[in-house]
């Protein structure tokens, strides 16, 4: 446990320091969402209708943006070799890294959502619904994205490949995330069903992600 706690602490610390990835994701999210009202125009009804989709898209792209450094940085400086050799199972180390990434890069997106909701003419219940779906859904984005990050680890500029690999896996999360938020805002469907599926997708990715990532990291060691 100390080993995993140490890994999580280190990754969060690096992400929060100068040059870390945490701020980049939030700034990207911020710029996508802030620009949207200017692009769509001053139709408040339309903005409120598009709001959840815009917030979700912004969050998805922001998490993709920072994910490609998840393993590459450790691979480049040789840390990954030592992590593979260590007594900690690689699957657990991958899960710890993904958790640290989500805490450093995913949580700030959720914290920023209420502020950005104002720009999109979402009222308080609607904003909290979107924030809640992001809280349930962004872990799935991180844990499935980790698989792509592990596959692209040995490639320079693997970011584009990562996007191509991970986007199909993120589509279900996007669909149910937006569906749950819209159900909460406009109805008529219930909020519960899509939200439950969203939670299920997250739980599913917690199980699959670390194993798939560890397997592809082992394959990539050469």
């Amino acid at each position: 446990m100390t080993a995993l706690a140490a890994l999580i602490r280190r990754d969060i610390r690096i992400a929060l320091r100068v040059g870390g990835g945490a701020l980049i994701g939030v700034l990207f999210f911020l710029s996508v969402v802030v620009l949207m009202p200017f692009a769509v125009g001053p139709d408040l009804k339309l903005l409120a209708r598009l709001g959840p989709a815009i917030l979700w898209l912004g969050a998805l792209l922001a998490s993709l943006l920072t994910l490609d450094r998840l393993f590459t940085a450790d691979h480049e400086d040789g840390s990954l070799d030592l992590i593979v050799m260590s007594r900690t199972p690689l699957e657990l180390a991958c899960a710890a890294k993904a958790l640290a990434h989500w805490i450093a890069a995913g949580l700030p997106l959720i914290v920023a959502t209420p502020v950005l909701g104002l720009l999109l003419n979402l009222d308080a219940p609607a904003t909290s619904a979107v924030a809640l779906t992001l809280l349930a859904g962004t872990p799935a984005l991180t844990f499935t994205g980790m698989i792509g990050a592990a596959l692209a680890v040995t490639l320079h500029r693997g970011g584009l490949l990562l996007a191509v690999l991970v986007l199909p896996l993120s589509i279900p999360v996007l669909i149910f995330g937006v569906a749950a938020s819209e159900a909460a805002i406009t109805g008529p469907q219930t909020f519960g069903a899509p939200f439950a599926i969203l939670c299920a997708l997250s739980l599913f990715s917690f199980v699959i992600g670390p194993f798939a990532a560890a397997a592809s990291l082992r394959q990539g060691m050469d």
Partner: protein, 200 residues
Amino acid sequence: MRLSGRGVKCIRGGRQVFSGLDFAAAAGEVLAVTGANGSGKTSLLRLIAGLLSPAEGTIALEGGDAELMLAEQAHYLGHRDALKPALSVLENLIFWRDFLGGEVFQAGQSLEAVGLDHAAHLPAAYLSAGQRRRLSLARLLAVRRPVWLLDEPTAALDAAGQELFAGLMADHLGRGGLIVAATHGPLGIAARELRIGAAT
């Protein structure tokens, strides 16, 4: 404790690096792997570390901890020093100590042993190449592992650093450790030489 390899063959990128390699090292011994550039010194160390798998042959550690794999009982000091520039010297060392686990020692003492205690709170980004190497060596001291796999350990070290490092190796051997070091220059300590032939 005895580390041995039988008929080890290494293929990388579809090219045979070496084959039929036999080697052995007992506790308290240094095996100095020498050979021309590209002859497979680093590959051999990575094979022992379990980071590559041999195409043929076996590598085994007898008399170690039976519940642990060879890689889990080894320190690997590669070309890349596994340091994060954003973290301070002490933070880097404490992370590896806590993450690698096992029998661990005071991080401050390890830094003192490699002569870096004055720079403990400096971000690793500001270290020189020699200081980075010293910090990597501190990792070997902060966590005890019986097998040290060292790739060009003396590269970038100054004369005082090489002398200090020879002393650290002697201490490690005295505690019953064993060392496999890929090297071009003298290690400053008596070693058995394993010469890997030129690449074919």
